[in-house]
């Protein structure tokens, strides 16, 4: 009896801390956006994908970057449901607007900002994150330092815009003040009964870090405008470390 009371106190305290850290449980149905992430959502605090935060994605090669952009696009599409604009900042853009239609994004609702200077890209991202008329801000760049990411986090806390920081071929994977760190890898597509041809886009999504959540690894496939989980046996959930220090 005493033990359950203690647990309840701890649970309430944890919720309080989460609220202080900016995570809000979505109470109303209207507020809640269904990201279609299915099982992945259980990894997040309160079981919802954290909006109004900056997510970090790391991709070491061009192939990984494509898979990562596909995954980001599938989430951004849900954020843009009300016909809002999204800003896509890149230093070396190869993203094709036509390809976004496949993920449910109307490409004319995306504003591309192509920048050559890394410093400018960060400035644009910070400015964009302060503009709460945008649905989401995606930035593709190489290096970001911890203090730079702190600035982005501060901007996001005021405006409630969701930011996606996609680091392509970073020299080292330094810690950032982001809410999560993802790595998306494309894996062999599955074709039923050995039929010829290429199947649906299939990815291995690994959530390496998430603040107040449980990191994990999932295999998903993008089929008919939704994420579908592949066989359960591939999922290997990593144990939660005892004490993790994130920014």
């Amino acid at each position: 009896m005493e033990g359950t009371a203690k647990q309840e106190v701890i649970r309430q305290l944890q919720e309080k801390i989460l609220k202080l850290e900016g995570f809000k449980p979505h109470t109303g149905i209207l507020n809640r956006i269904d990201f279609g992430l299915a099982d992945i959502e259980s990894a997040f605090p309160f079981g919802t994908f954290p909006t109004a935060a900056v997510h970090e994605f790391i991709s070491p090669t061009a192939v990984h970057a494509t898979a990562t952009n596909g995954f980001i696009a599938s989430i951004v599409a849900k954020l843009m449901h009300a016909g809002n604009f999204c800003l896509w900042i890149s230093t070396k853009r190869s993203l094709s607007p036509i390809g976004l239609t496949h993920f449910g994004i109307a490409p004319h609702q995306v504003i591309f900002v192509d920048i050559t200077q890394h410093k400018d890209a960060l400035w644009v991202m910070e400015q964009a994150l302060k503009c709460n008329a945008l649905a989401a801000v995606v930035a593709e760049m190489e290096e970001v330092s911890f203090s730079e990411s702190q600035r982005l986090q501060l901007a996001v806390e005021k405006s409630n815009v969701t930011g996606f920081l996609h680091r392509r071929r970073p020299r080292h994977e330094n810690t950032l003040a982001c809410v999560s760190r993802w790595k998306i890898r494309s894996i062999a597509s599955r074709v039923p009964d050995g039929l010829p041809g290429v199947g649906y886009p299939t990815w291995e999504v690994s959530l390496e870090k998430v603040r107040n959540g449980r990191p994990g690894k999932w295999q998903v496939s993008w089929q008919n405008n939704q994420l579908v989980h592949l066989s359960k046996e591939a999922i290997t959930r990593t144990a939660r470390p005892n004490h993790e220090q994130y920014a």
Binding site: A62, V63, A65, T66, A67, N69, G70, F71, A73, A82, G83, N84, F85, L87, S94, L95, S96, P97, I98, G99, L100, T101, H102, F103, A106, P107, H108, V110, I111, F112, V113, D114, I115, Q117, D120, W123, V124, Q127, A128, C131, N132, A133, L134, A135, R185, S186, I187, A188, S189, V191, P196, G197, V198, G199, P201, T202, W203, W222
Partner: protein
Amino acid sequence: MPRRYMCIWLPFFGTDRAEKEQPERRKAPFVLTLAQNGRVKIQAANRPALQEGISCGMVLADAQAILPQLESAIYDANSLNQTLQALGEWCIRFAPIVDLQAPDGIVLDISGCTHLWGGEEKYGNHIIDRIAQGGYQAQAAIADTIGAAWAAARHTTRLSIIPKTQQAQALSGLPPAALRISLQIQQRLHKLGFRYIEEFMHIPKSTLRRRFGDELIYRLGQALGTEQEHISLIEPIPSYQERLSCLEPISTCTGIQTALEQLLTTLCDRLRKEGKGLRQAVFRGYRIDGNVQTIHIGTGRASSNPTHLFKLFDLKVPNIEPALGIELFVLEATLTENSILPQEGLWQTKGGQSEIAELLDNIAAKIGSGSIHRFLPSAHHWPERTIEPTSSLDTQPQSDWPSHALRPLHLLAHPEPIEVMVPLPDYPPALFRHRKKIYKLVKADGPERIEQEWWISDEQPRDYYRVEDEKGARYWLFRSGYYGQGDPEWFLHGYFT
């Protein structure tokens, strides 16, 4: 109140303008011509041409028979009118009320202006000299009535001043054509032997009206001052300019920002009242050593929001070098547009386009507008031409985005050549080599043939394959050209997710 008018006549307006463009025309006989009723007629001739006996209204062929080396150009009435309009606007500096007398005259209401130049003679000479500096020969006359000034400007010397109430004497020695009457009446007067205005000036009106109609009476009255004549004035283009002079020279950043803020508030208030928005603006700081520091901004959409405009300027304020101090600030809107006032929303939704427009302005001001892109679908099936850029935030696509075929998420700007191993012609490749790395392919879809759009280009068609390698990466490859017609080339064009 008695008024004084000045008429300026530019006798060689058309040819002077053409000579300004090509100064070598000045020496030789030169005419401007216009095709009328199947004949090319001379509309304007310069002084050397007139001296050779060529006059306006002659047929060009006749004139060239007299003078084979005669140069000619086309008479462009529209651009001449624009030039005259510009000249009229320029004349507003001499008198507040200015009107044009097309095709080659300007009339100024100079009542109460001339004493600033030290009398009518100095005033008139000054204007004629200034116009001559600009490359136009001018003649002018000052009189109590527009009619008299018009007549004197065209029929006497360089500058003639008709003293107050003496227009009757001045007109008496001039031919009837000086009265701005139609050619028909001029000819009838000539037929009846009236060579000068004085010969019919004192004939009773009723007699004149019976013979020549109302027009002659009316024009004569206007010249003598018994009939009223109104002029429609040229409206000067409103300049959106605000000035702020400082008691002490300003040399700090905060000082400059305060000045800028003040100027912006007053300018934006004015713009908002007139329903306008600013597209381009320039902020100048006049330094005490005579130097002028300038910063420019531009907006993507007409704006009269001072805080937003301030932000745009603020990015550039560090470029100002105040040195010893700035004593005068001038803010001018160089380009304005009518702005559509935003409708108040009943429910404030999250689609604030103006906020995004302001954000993009900020980005454009810092990095350059060339870095911002938005795309609309374009009705082409060739992969490189399926999108077209648009510069506006409001344009909506005219056609749907193509969704029938799978297109890669990452498309290379230029297809990169690869080497492939193909087991059989028209089969998908079994492996390809790109940048010295070998990729073994296990799955493939295709081919999807994309033909060239023959109305744009006549190069080879492409056969696209969607392939997957053993690691799970998916690529978009294509073969350019057909088998059996030389060696087909292979390229990597994109990455699928």
